[in-house]
């Protein structure tokens, strides 16, 4: 084949390959290195370099160099006046002989001249300088002609697009990281707000000090025992913390009554789930169903709960969890008219009411959580911390819990045992 034709094919293959390279290579540095080889090899250019431009530091950083020697600076600063000059030049190759007025050139003249750099090509994408390509002499010793310049400009444009894409990606990653941090901060702020709300609710009720916080914790432990994701567990915990928020509007005298309250007072107190729902509904929660948990945490599977007397599958699942956690705390703490009940009685009660008040699989989850902690299967000491060590480690608890779990496993549901 004639030499000129062979050279043309060689050069155009390089141009085609560089397009492929920029479009498809995932690894940025490998893309740059390969493109650099294609660029030098297309016209057999002896030396050169590709530098990426950082607009923030007005700095050029060399990504690939060949034949420029060890003393060539890996980064170089660019004057804003030069940046404007390069933007004006567009993607046209600048002959070094015409670049002498650039501050950049004056600063790095010894390197540029000593290394025989002949062309400087600014890489400009969307009116933005993304880098420079510098090219030294060709192996043939011939000067770059207009066709050569057109080829290297086209190749530099491809490489510029590759750098531009990389910059966009880096910017996107930075924004995503910023968002992630912002979200994390918001989540923490929300968690703090929830906890201070819980403290405010509990402060009003001197007999059940710490109730909301404990219900939050028990709800969390049940959800964890169910194997839920971290985010869902957090959501359930929040629902637990806030379930009694409606009590903020109930008269303190009624809440703190040392004796059983009368029918009127009871009716007043019974409004707290709906009031809680009304308080929580307008708030934007990062988790779903928090207002519903407040509204339905006194509903029972058998329909004998309030405010709506919902039955089993009509009750939101999150409300069932909070209901169990709420009742569990009521049974295991001292109340003004009722002393705390011993552990074995509590377990019996859970069994008896499974399928009536409580969802059986949730009773299972709660018992499993406790058993897991007692038998050392989990590092968590939450139950011990919440209930006290002696209470949790009372004699016969482990067999009782096992027995309760067997009952569920044997029948598939505790409902049968409970209804006998």
């Amino acid at each position: 084949m004639p030499q000129s034709e062979q050279k043309l094919i060689h050069t155009f293959s390089a141009l085609a390959d560089i397009g492929q390279e920029v479009a498809h290579k995932y690894n940025f540095h490998e893309m740059i290195r390969t493109s650099f080889h294609l660029l030098l090899g297309s016209l057999a250019i002896m030396r050169g370099g590709i530098a990426r431009y950082s607009r923030f530091g007005h700095e050029l950083n060399f990504l690939a160099v060949r034949g420029l020697g060890d003393d060539f600076p890996v980064s170089a600063s660019i004057d804003p006046a030069d940046e404007r000059e390069f933007l004006t030049a567009g993607m046209s190759a600048i002959e070094v002989s015409q670049a002498k007025m650039l501050i950049f050139f004056q600063r790095y003249q010894p390197f540029v001249e000593k290394k025989g750099i002949e062309l400087i090509i600014p890489m400009i994408v969307h009116d933005e300088l993304v880098g420079l390509v510098m090219l030294g002499e060709k192996a043939s010793g011939e000067p770059f002609n207009s066709a050569d310049r057109a080829i290297v400009q086209a190749m530099a444009r491809h490489i510029g697009v590759g750098i531009y894409q990389r910059n966009l990606l880096a910017e996107l990653e930075r924004k995503a990281e910023q968002n992630r941090r912002l979200y994390e901060e918001m989540r923490l702020t929300y968690a703090d707000t929830v906890k201070s709300f819980a403290a405010a609710i509990d402060y009003k009720d001197k007999y059940t000090e710490g109730h909301s916080v404990r219900v939050g914790k028990y709800s969390e432990l049940i959800a964890k025992s169910l194997g839920w994701s971290e985010e869902r567990v957090e959501g359930v915990a929040v629902a637990g913390y806030l379930h009694d928020v409606g009590k903020l509007t109930v008269e303190k005298r009624i809440i703190n009554s040392p004796t059983r309250i009368n029918a009127k007072e009871s009716a007043e107190l019974s409004k707290h789930p709906v009031v809680g729902y009304d308080i929580l509904l307008p708030i934007h929660h990062p988790y779903t169903d928090v207002p519903l948990a407040a509204k339905y945490h006194h509903e029972r599977l058998d329909g004998r709960g309030y405010p709506d007397g919902l039955r089993d599958d009509q009750i939101p699942y999150i409300a069932k969890i909070v209901n169990l956690a709420d009742s569990f705390d009521a049974m295991t703490t001292n109340r003004p008219y009722k002393a705390r009940r011993p552990a074995h009685e509590v377990i019996e009660d859970l069994q008896r009411n499974s399928g009536k008040q409580f969802a059986p699989e949730l009773v299972t989850a709660l018992c499993e959580g406790m058993l897991d902690e007692l038998e050392g299967g989990s590092e968590d000491k939450s139950f011990r911390r919440l209930l006290g060590r002696e209470y949790m480690e009372a004699e016969g608890i482990i067999p009782m819990l096992r027995n309760a779990l067997n009952g569920i496993n044997a029948t598939g549901s505790l409902t049968l045992i409970a209804s006998e």
Partner: protein
């Protein structure tokens, strides 16, 4: 033809013999340049690049060969391209590589 990704290079006295194979045309060919630099640093004064198993040389290959030439010129070492087929020899001629390395056709 070698199927390994390692550069096929051996040293015979002052001469290092490199087989360009097919990986010369890929980014893995950078290994050839590195090996040649190492051999020159170790005292080789002659680099023999064999194109016995190389059908064509693309732009990446040319760039890597220029790297070999660059390495040799810094140490005044001689570069010889051997077993070069006529098409490739023409290409080396047109691109000017023949000014920097002796070409011996197959």
């Amino acid at each position: 033809m070698s199927i390994t990704q390692e550069a096929d290079i051996r040293r015979e006295g002052e001469t290092a013999v490199v087989y360009a194979n097919e990986y010369l045309n890929k980014i893995t060919g950078e290994k050839i340049e590195r090996e040649c630099r190492d051999k020159i640093a170790a005292g080789c004064s002659r680099l023999l690049v064999s194109f016995r198993d190389t059908e064509i040389v693309n732009s990446i290959g040319i760039s890597i060969l220029l790297g070999v030439i660059d390495a040799a010129s810094g140490a005044n070492a001689e570069v010889v391209f051997t077993d070069v087929n006529p098409d490739t020899a023409h290409l080396f001629e047109t691109l000017g590589l023949s000014r920097h390395a002796r070409i011996v056709t197959a």
